[in-house]
């Protein structure tokens, strides 16, 4: 399975869960998350994420 993962901290974005604390509803596709969104664990920019095999 592949997931978008923050390379600064290893936090993985799960589309089914979203990031409700930042207003990202469950089911939100990665490409629909605004570029201003930050990694909830370490605060890294969306551009710090990469698609990785988990």
């Amino acid at each position: 399975m592949k997931q978008w993962m923050c390379l600064n901290c290893g936090w993985a974005y799960d589309e089914a869960v979203g990031d409700p604390s930042a207003g990202i509803a469950p089911g939100t596709r990665w490409e629909d998350i605004p570029d201003t969104w930050r990694c909830p664990d370490c605060g890294a920019a969306k551009s710090e994420f990469d698609m990785v095999e988990v």
Partner: protein, 420 residues
Amino acid sequence: MSVMTAPLKLEDLEDRSFDPFMVEKLSHGSTADPYPTIHAAMAKGPVHKGAYRDLFDAVPDVQMAGLNHYVVLGYDLIQQVLLDPQTFTNREAFEHNLGRSFGHTVTVMDGEEHARFRRIFQRAFLPQVVAKWGETVVDPVVDRLMGAFIQRGEADLVADFTHHYPFQVIYRQLELEPEQAPIFHKLAIAQLLSSIGAPQGQEASRKLGDFFAGLLTLRRAQPGSDLVSHLATVEVDGERLPDDVLIAFLRQLMNAGGDTTYRGTSVLLTGLLTHPDQLAAVAADRSLIPQAIDEALRWEGPVASTWRHAARDVTLAGVDIPQGAIVNVVLASANRDPAKFPDPDRFDIFRDRSVRPLPFATGPHVCIGQHLAKVEMTRALNAVLDRLPNLRLDPDKPAPDIVGHILRVPEHIHVRFDPA
């Protein structure tokens, strides 16, 4: 096949009778339960002038005393501080203590330099990487340690198990000769004593540094599949990790990756054993293990406080904090903030999980090893549940008592079980 470390010998402290374990334990404070004090301080407001240590009776911190300290309490404010690395920096907060002990570690870096090196180290500790170590590195260590006491029907899970396994995981990753391990552990603890001014601190840092420099030379000459070979040869954008940065990271590994996991696992077992209904639930349904770990680390996070430096004048919750102040970020207060975690002092693996606890902190310096810690704790708990049937606290011995106000751990977990 990697190179053996046989030619490398660690040098013991000159004063062989010096016991760094006892001195280090004293420096973490003996407060049994710091939470009433933390709650009382929070009730007066989220920001106070003074140091976190000053809330308790503590061994003086000779490196940090005399600096202008402020305590920050509560989830929202702590998150704000840790997610603002431009205002709240690391170097000045840690160069007096961890910087002296470990050297040029990522913990004492800020900004671009930190981001550059952090990504390289984190790559070796991403979830999909460390997951593989569960089977190859963690399980053999856990099996061997448990094999020594499963016949007895009773054990002290700290003395027999948790105080050893995370360190032995590191020894395996370093491919350390078994007879070197006791000296390695002793030096790794002794190096921390720079923070209380003990001369053995710098002596231990130097001796570990010499050892790691030799290890890097060996691994670069003949790289294997081990962690050190990887870190010694990894290149990002054509650049290798500088020796001083890599040696500092390796010095920190025992404390950041061994000591905290020993404490976290001990706290997890304490929480479950003192709540037998929750222990039974986890034993019956192992899918509950991740939330049991999250709750244990929220309830009794091993690291009660971290520190930052105010890089400019800043106002937090109406309190002016001048540039140069040391901000004591009390993680324990975030994880027991009643506004985020109702009835916060209760251990409850079934509590609502919509708010993320912060035992590993947050922000760009969030714990690099958090995914490995969870793999280790999961493997350890599964082994305990699989191999110690009818596990319960020993009614004839004292119940586990978590102590310390900087770093927390129970000294003993006396249990009984059906012998193998």
